[in-house]
Amino acid sequence: DQQVKQNSPSLSVQEGRISILNCDYTNSMFDYFLWYKKYPAEGPTFLISISSIKDKNEDGRFTVFLNKSAKHLSLHIVPSQPGDSAVYFCAARERIQGAQKLVFGQGTRLTINP
């Protein structure tokens, strides 16, 4: 039962263009969504988040959009830079009996080509 899905295993984008990474979820009880970035041999690092009561959050080159009716969120990176090449994980937060639990998608490998 995959509650958070990233249907694109990989994405290749030219440097300077926009990268769009997508994520779908099924659980309407998720109240917070996060994007993590992971380089090889390192742990995931937090990138940006959005509350379920908002539809957009922007931080520099990174913008996350949330469409609650479609249960869909996306991460936009513009302009894309070579250092953005990494695996990106979408995660959703669920509160269960006072505990906060993150459910992760499978990840999308982003490659920025010079």
Partner: protein
């Protein structure tokens, strides 16, 4: 500020052997998480501690996996006996009680069971 520390970074064992992983969270972080990340998948929560108490261990295979967090700081995760399907990266993460929900991950321990 020092990040989440984990050791060892790599471990190769034979099936039916036992193995232990260690994690030291960011100083002052009350919540500690252990995740299992199988190749090609996102991290899956195994167990969550709040200080030295277990908050969620619903996805921990308790017949072979155990974890403890004595004194509410360091934590160890043990597998005994290991199976081939336990081959994965084991990630430790921590978060502050009043964080903006993001978790800080360590570099992980790559376990190979042969």
């Amino acid at each position: 500020e020092a990040g989440v520390a984990q050791s060892p970074r790599y471990k190769i064992i034979e099936k039916r052997q036992s193995v232990a992983f260690w994690c030291n969270p960011i100083s002052g972080h009350a919540t500690l998480y252990w995740y299992q990340q199988i190749l090609g998948q996102g991290p899956k929560l195994l167990i969550q501690f709040q200080n030295n108490g277990v908050v969620d261990d619903s996805q921990l295979p308790k017949d072979r996996f155990s974890a403890e967090r004595l004194k509410g700081v360091d934590s160890t995760l043990k597998i005994q006996p290991a199976k081939l399907e336990d081959s994965a990266v084991y990630l430790c993460a921590s978060s502050a009680r009043d964080s903006r929900y993001e978790q800080y991950f360590g570099p992980g321990t790559r376990l190979t069971v042969t």
